[in-house]
């Protein structure tokens, strides 16, 4: 197994508050699904956002695919290969229809419209969501929104998936479906989740975040 992504002593503090990350280090290997747990407000979501450069780490190092990532230009490249699924699907789905939302990423990556259309079909079929293609995003149910949000990120064909509380407000049926989907995907993942039963089924190892560090 080869190392995909490694963070070394990341630290971050929101403006005017106590540091929320102070020396967070984590290594992710190919095929791994790492569960990240920790108390509320300990900085798990922040960690994922720092990982893809949405917030810049004050010090430390982010290495992925054998390369260091420092500047915004670097992180733009990183975000193509590391897909972050947000905690609230309403933050992620902003296009009028499901089809447009899923095509948004591929079009940004420079695919043509025909190629993007093909990717939309392919992704929806992969997640068994083809019937939602023409639906208006804000009229989807909570569970549907969550699965479509996942689809929008998978459509970019990332090598690593970062999932922030993916089982929040899912009913039992959709939850089982999500577990099946995640187990069938080849990507390495970091999954933030308080849901113990879900973690037991999905993750290959669990790490804990405490005092801004990961153990």
């Amino acid at each position: 197994m080869s190392l995909l992504l490694e963070t070394d002593k990341l630290s971050y503090a929101y403006h005017g508050s106590a540091p929320c990350l102070s020396g967070a280090s984590l290594a992710l290997e190919e095929g791994e699904r790492v569960g990240l747990v920790g108390d509320n407000g300990v900085g798990k979501s922040t960690f994922l956002q720092v990982l893809v450069g949405l917030y810049k780490s004050h010090d430390g190092r982010i290495t992925a695919f054998g390369q260091d990532f420092v500047t915004e230009e670097d992180f733009i490249q990183l975000r193509r290969r590391v897909g972050l699924v947000f905690q609230d699907p309403d933050d992620q789905l902003f296009c009028p229809t499901v089809k447009e939302d899923i095509a948004f990423g591929p079009l940004n990556l420079g695919y043509s419209r025909a190629e993007a259309d093909a990717i939309v079909e392919e992704t929806l079929a992969l997640l068994n969501l083809s019937h939602l293609k023409e639906r208006v995003t804000h009229r989807l149910s909570g569970g549907q929104k969550r699965l479509v949000a996942l689809a929008t990120v998978i459509a970019m064909k990332p090598d690593i998936l970062l999932l922030d509380e993916p089982t929040n407000d899912l009913d039992e049926k959709t939850r089982i479906r999500l577990i099946e989907i995640l187990l069938s995907l080849p990507q390495a993942m970091i999954i933030v989740s308080h849901d113990r039963a879900f973690r037991e089924k999905v993750v290959t190892r669990t790490v804990k975040m405490e005092n801004g560090q990961i153990f």
């Binding site: 933050d91 009028p96 948004f104």
Partner: protein
């Protein structure tokens, strides 16, 4: 031509058969709702500009009837449409009542010593016809397009991208915000909050509005981050395509003819006068 008339006929028959069912109101066989949204937007735009130019009663009357015809053809629920038309009328009602008394001219009647003039009455009727013709045409042609499709059609009509996306984002997030507002309101009620005319109420409502503003601001930041994660580089993509069918062509031609006839009638009157 046969296309439209045939379909209108079918829609009518359908309406009779299920006059009271929702199926009839939202049926896809209503020709107005099958028209290309772009055609409908342009038609209302041109029609409105034309009607505003009209000043003679005959062409205005015909335009009014045209609007009424479209409204009937769109088969909107009657009471709702009436309410909407009256809402617009309520804006101009004061003007309509005042005009006869403020316009100088031949005296028609006098109320409490104020005299009303025929010229003023005519002016009031002109405004009433103009406003209602435009409102009815808009209701029939535009209110039947859903907001998302409306935005996409505007984009295809080369309306500036920023405006279109402002509209689409508003449509997308107004419900999310509304749900947030309802959640906060329910939470307040659950803790025994009953609005009254006192400082406590004003303060609490202030907190509510402030909290909504902060939450929307934070949400907008998260949306931007999520967009960045998917490689957003300042460019939006709208994928919707519209078909310009034979039915649309027929409607466009009839609409053009109608508008031109109205203008011609107005001109003829001018020449005759």
């Amino acid at each position: 031509m046969s296309d439209i008339l045939g379909d209108a006929g079918r829609a009518k028959g359908l309406g009779r058969a299920e006059a009271n069912s929702i199926g009839a109101i939202f049926s896809h066989r209503l020709w107005i709702r099958e028209l290309d949204p772009r055609v409908r937007i342009v038609a209302v735009f041109v029609f409105s500009i034309c009607v505003v130019q009209l000043d003679k009663l005959l062409p205005l009357g015909i335009a009014f009837l045209g609007g009424l015809f479209l409204l009937l053809q769109a088969r909107m629920p009657f009471v709702t449409s009436l309410k909407r038309v009256l809402t617009v009328d309520s804006f101009i009602i004061l003007l309509l009542v005042m005009l006869p008394f403020t316009t100088p001219g031949t005296e028609m009647a006098s109320v409490f010593g104020f005299s009303a003039s025929y010229e003023g009455l005519r002016q009031a009727i002109v405004i009433l016809l103009r406003a209602n013709a435009i409102v009815m045409a808009s209701l029939a042609l535009l209110a039947t397009i859903d907001a998302v499709t409306f935005g996409q059609a505007l984009a295809k009509l080369k309306v500036p991208e920023r405006l279109v996306h402002l509209l689409l984002f508003t449509v997308r997030y107004v419900e999310v915000l509304h749900a947030e507002y309802l959640r906060l309101k329910t939470a307040m009620k659950c803790r025994g909050f009953a609005p009254g005319n006192n400082l406590h109420t004003y303060k609490s409502v202030g907190y509510l509005v402030g909290m909504l503003l902060i939450r929307s601001f934070e949400r907008s930041e998260r949306i931007l981050m999520a967009m960045k994660c998917r490689g957003f580089n300042g460019q939006f993509h709208l994928l919707k395509d519209f078909d310009y069918t034979r039915r649309d062509l027929t409607f466009s031609m009839i609409a053009c003819l109608f508008v031109l006839s109205l203008l011609a009638l107005e001109m003829l009157h001018v020449v005759a006068a």
